[in-house]
Subunit: 407 residues, 2 copies
Amino acid sequence: MNIIEGGVTAAMGFEAAGVEASIKYQNRKDMALIYSKLPCKAAGVFTSNIVKAAPVLWDKEVVSNSPYAQAVVVNAGIANACTGKQGYDCCKKTAGAAAKCLGISEDAVLVASTGVIGMQLPVERIAAGVELLVKNKADTIEAGLQAAEAIMTTDTISKQAAVTIEIDGKTVTVGGMCKGSGMIHPNMCTMLGFVTTDIAISKELLQEALCEDVRDTFNMISVDGDTSTNDTLIVLANGAAGNPEIRTKDEDYGKFKAALNYVNTTLAKKMAGDGEGATALFETKVIHARTKEDARILSRSVISSNLTKAAIFGHDANLGRAFCALGYSGVDFDPEKVDLYLENEEKTLPVYRDGVMLDYSEEEATQILSAPEVRILVDMKAGDFEAAAWGCDLTFDYVKINADYRS
Amino acid sequence: MNIIEGGVTAAMGFEAAGVEASIKYQNRKDMALIYSKLPCKAAGVFTSNIVKAAPVLWDKEVVSNSPYAQAVVVNAGIANACTGKQGYDCCKKTAGAAAKCLGISEDAVLVASTGVIGMQLPVERIAAGVELLVKNKADTIEAGLQAAEAIMTTDTISKQAAVTIEIDGKTVTVGGMCKGSGMIHPNMCTMLGFVTTDIAISKELLQEALCEDVRDTFNMISVDGDTSTNDTLIVLANGAAGNPEIRTKDEDYGKFKAALNYVNTTLAKKMAGDGEGATALFETKVIHARTKEDARILSRSVISSNLTKAAIFGHDANLGRAFCALGYSGVDFDPEKVDLYLENEEKTLPVYRDGVMLDYSEEEATQILSAPEVRILVDMKAGDFEAAAWGCDLTFDYVKINADYRS
């Protein structure tokens, strides 16, 4: 697997664009387009929130019922959630406008929105934006970056990742982009994510690979525990790489899954590290858990704990809070067997052994906690399973951003 | 039911004290005693966290196995959690010291701790504190207040409540005190609470009344979603009122439950409103839910949402976030039937109808949100059940307090 530059335009046959459409924000890009010259197999996972935004309802239809998909239109600033029939009609109009400009069918167009809940989208400006997007689309790395920038809300950096693998002598590329950064929580974490690939694969296996992979990637991050109304992750596969279509879970399928996992993990970690107001990427890794699910639940509970996140922000090794978060996770375990370590890239510091705090150096702990990436390692000493989860610290800026997000 | 002044010394036969023992804090009261001249029936509910502090383990024993209880010793500053065998031994020594000074049995002494996790308690200072407490104990309102002040950690106000009821011609008093204010979350919310009453009641009914009542009081508040290792709520009933002992769920039992509910609701709301860094008490009331449990889950989900809490802090009527929190609560409902209102003591403003945002006045909304007590009213239009939950806003000060709580 080779890590390469780029995002949604890295794979063959994909074009993208990002433009200023003044949907809500002014003087910045706020609409994005992904377009495939060839029809794509589409797979998607969507928010588990009962309150689903209109674009989620539209996309679920397209992924389930359309024979193929060929474009995605995204806007930032307004989420088109809690907007009723008018909101759904707007999705249809957006797809219709894109279909007309691109000369494809309306039901091959996916739509996605992120931003404020409750407001209606300005349909005319959306339609004008679509025209501009189609005019500007290109298959360059630059075009991919512009799309990644256009979907940002309170994100401070754009988020892309791409890799190539070899399948049957053909180079297959998987690339993606996503945005965070508030309302981020597992299942599906609050996010928009788009992955494009030129692999030839059956629709069933594409969906299965995606569903399996999100359990260890996007569903393992949290910024604030709020599962959004708009979470969407879509994978488009157009087959342009020319490999024999993958139809069974063979070695090639394994290679694709590894590539997808790399792209999704990279994007998910970027999202967690760029959580609203964050100053650090905060990872919790649980090892020697009794089951895989235990490991997942335990690690997520720690990275979701407000108190632990505030301690990380304060560079305070208050791992008692992490221990507490393990305890209320719902997983049954013996507290008197648990070891906790504080880690960064350079150092590992044992802080708890067999459930009791050790006499460690606070100075060393503060030093470790001052790194931009911090890890709490939890050894359950109970089995053979492990999992990692990613979050960020809880900061003044998180509160600031969310106390006046709408204004 | 008459609301009266006071707390744990309001009921007949109870004494209390609060003293400076320099356990961790300096120059403030940090140890409290509650003492009953008569042996008490004791009931208790404790944290559901797997990681239970040593005092929780000790108290569960006393409540389950001791024939009666007669005293509670509390310290603030160190939680005696994740302290292993040494921590449990310290509980025994604390109880032993109190038993000796008071001339009662060791297994009639309950202990409770709140503060930093991981540190061991200084046993000698605890023992010295116990002596001082016994020397200072009194049955006055002032003594009750001193105890309420001594158990505070980051609380900004002490929290007490008391009422009297008439049973069979006798005046029965129920009074209590509690402390918050971080690591507060349902089940049991992170807290220490102590209720004393002079009612004569069977131990079984006392425990049952308590268990039922916490579901609608202390388990309906949240400050930060972190369920602590130390949550403890204890009720002591010494029978001094002289009413015929309550042994069946008759009218008198109903009167006692109403009194207990008033005291617990008052204490729980005080705790929520004094959450770390809070500037407002934030209530969510859900009406017309399909089941009581639905109403509880939905209301708690909203008051626990970081994003909604930050919006309350910013006086921003971003009720889309509240709607979102209903949606990820786990309760199944039809979003297109839900109405949302913003309320304070003076005004009610409809903001969402049938799942769609109304064209309301932002100015009026901001005005409502500027009150010290703010309510989101949710009408599910699905049934006959209702519940309320209480939290607070998420503020800069919450982050500040928790970024350097230990220093």
